[in-house]
């Protein structure tokens, strides 16, 4: 029993979607059946028109660029927090050593060091400001 036009129409749809190839049977049927030939031409025409339509949505480059910048900022923030934890851990170790030394008879030396930093650092402040201003390109007299 031969196939009906409905069967051939289903096969033609598969051919348009490139899921099946033309064979002798379909070609012979199309030669003799005007309805199926007309149907096949309409399918092909519709496919060509759809291919020619620009269906791509417009790309908003500014939004994409902002998203990338935000992603970089989040990545930097995570990295900053990670380094902060490492710094805090090292600081705790350092300060524990200092307190241990202070309690074991080195408190005088530590306090002398503290007093000297209180006295010396304010004097080097103007030089630090001048050096930084020069480095950042400000007019320095």
């Amino acid at each position: 029993m031969g196939k009906s036009c409905e069967n051939y129409k289903d096969i033609l749809i598969d051919i348009i979607y490139e899921e099946k190839d033309f064979n002798k049977d379909i070609k012979d049927h199309l030669k003799h059946c005007d309805n199926c030939m007309k149907y096949y031409k309409e399918l092909k025409d519709t496919k060509n028109r759809l291919n020619n339509l620009n269906t791509e949505p417009p790309i908003e480059y500014r939004k994409i660029s902002k998203a990338f910048i935000k992603a970089d900022e989040i990545k930097k923030k995570k990295s900053d927090i990670k380094s902060l934890f490492v710094f805090m851990l090292l600081s705790v170790i350092f300060l524990t050593m200092v307190v241990t030394l202070a309690v074991n008879g080195f408190s005088k030396e530590i306090i002398y060091f503290q007093i000297s930093t209180y006295v010396i650092f304010p004097f080097i402040l103007p030089f630090m400001i001048k050096k930084r201003a020069k480095k950042e390109g400000y007019d320095v007299k």
Partner: protein
Amino acid sequence: MLSEIKEVPIFMWIIIATLLLTQASWIFYDASKRGEKKWLWGSFGLLNVPSNLIIYLIVTRLVMKTKKCEYCNKNIRKESYFCPYCGKEVKK
């Protein structure tokens, strides 16, 4: 007076150490946000409190970091989105 230094109780040292840790951590985090040398400033903050914090604030707030405008090559503030000289949009 110098002989009385030996009498400083341990809890005073712990308070000072806590203050130093808090100060140094804040300076480290602030320096990292601003693109400063965070490890250098953080270690600086561990040395004494509060004068080193004041020094850090004066140096970083008084002299703002700059970058070059890619169009007119003038020095502008690092956080700027637009160049105040040529008006063009600059990369952050």
